[in-house]
Symmetry: C2
């Protein structure tokens, strides 16, 4: 197996970090790697905001529901869908940008996410640990305000990076047959679901979670504790409102 | 520089492919790599549809505006945001899923895109060439219908993969300072834009495009030819409608 495959297959999210800075040269390589990711029409409609300052991290930590790893990690990278720069370029070059719409937002978000995964893998190739913060879309409006993002810019995800202070094992994954479809999507019958989730449900980790939460099934931990409908609906509305405010929904008015 | 960084930094999109199959074992490694990508709460809310059949490829080629590379590549991977499997699991486990909303769609799309970039890098580590198809979001509804995606499933991106039959040079990128912001987003003044785009605008490729399109600026080629407002608005509406149809907008009704 080649080294790139090893880096990818050995990925574990890291949530505890050593108190150790990341060399400027390594940071540059991580950012360079991000910039080599595929991008729609080579427009590069994303931006990356680098946070290392302790005071700024403390503020951003609040927007991410005070998850400790945000404070511990020496480096945060916030990846943003960004048509602001491209729009400004168009306007300075006698071109009328037509990117104030949802498709363009999606395009820019895709650019940002491919860049993020390049950065994550690059960091791991240098022995660093990473973790994605899914909470960026929850508080994209507040994060954007604090980071001074203008119209046309929407934070999509954040990667925390640092030297690991823990060595977790690989996280379980569904068997490949559970996520892969050959030629056509084959919908899941009830016994497919049982088979696909069997291993996950039998993990000691699952038993511990059920005990801790006093719930009957792992799925209930997701629906009642971790990703509730109430939260999802609340943050759906605020995220959509923010996308609109940033100028990406001008077709539905 | 380590091999992983080399793989990432040497990425070039490949659009011409040899008539050569990809070994089953390599395909499996690519899919395994995809499945190791970070995923929100380890929910793995995405699916990957594998296309190798010639007849199916020909159909999918039409949805991607008949780009030749879709026919030439021996392998297409369509990455979908997918809450269908997770919802079914919840329902079979006495849990009420609350994922019929835009935040959940975004979460699933992020999962799908991180998996896609893992697959892309894994493929390149085996000497394969890849290209992303940005057109998946344009015709997500038609692609989903053809691939038999049920409610809860939205195609987000497609990666074509095969052995390269061309050896392009690295694509130009904006200088890093153009996409990176230190601590806070620093908005672009007019001379920043001039400086950041200077190298791109001076490329022989740019001169050739201007000549070919009989336009005055490179930006006009984007706004008037490649990514027009009319197309963007049209496909924004159909993509949003499809996301709604797939059950991810139940909060705005």
């Amino acid at each position: 197996m080649n080294d790139t495959m090893k880096t990818i297959l050995e990925h574990k999210s890291i949530r505890k970090f050593q108190n150790k800075e990341i060399d400027e040269s390594i940071l540059n390589q991580i950012l360079e790697a991000a910039s080599r990711g595929s991008t729609t029409g080579n427009m590069q409609v994303y931006s990356i905001i680098v946070t290392r300052n302790e005071e700024h991290k403390k503020k951003i930590w609040e927007f991410h529901f005070k998850q400790n790893m945000v404070l511990e990690a020496p480096l945060l990278l916030t990846f943003c869908a960004d048509f602001n720069r491209f729009n400004k370029w168009c306007e300075q070059r006698d071109a009328v940008p037509g990117y104030d719409n949802f498709l363009s937002f999606t395009t820019a978000a895709i650019d940002a996410l491919l860049a993020a995964q390049n950065a994550a893998i690059a960091a791991e190739s240098y022995g660093l640990g990473i973790c994605y913060l899914g909470t960026t879309t929850y508080n994209a409006d507040k994060i954007a305000e604090y980071l001074k993002c203008p119209k046309g810019v929407v934070p999509i995800t954040t990667v925390v990076i640092g030297y690991p202070a823990e060595t977790p094992g690989l996280t379980d994954r569904l068997p490949l047959e559970g996520i892969i479809h050959d030629e056509f999507y084959r919908d899941y019958a009830s016994d497919d679901i049982d088979r696909i989730y069997k291993e996950k449900e039998a993990l000691p980790l699952t038993a511990a979670l059920l005990e801790e939460n006093q719930l009957a099934t792992l799925a209930q931990i997701f629906t009642q504790k971790r990703y509730t409908k109430k939260d999802n609906v609340f943050f759906s509305k605020s995220f959509l409102n923010f996308i609109r405010k940033q100028g990406f929904m001008n077709h539905d008015e």
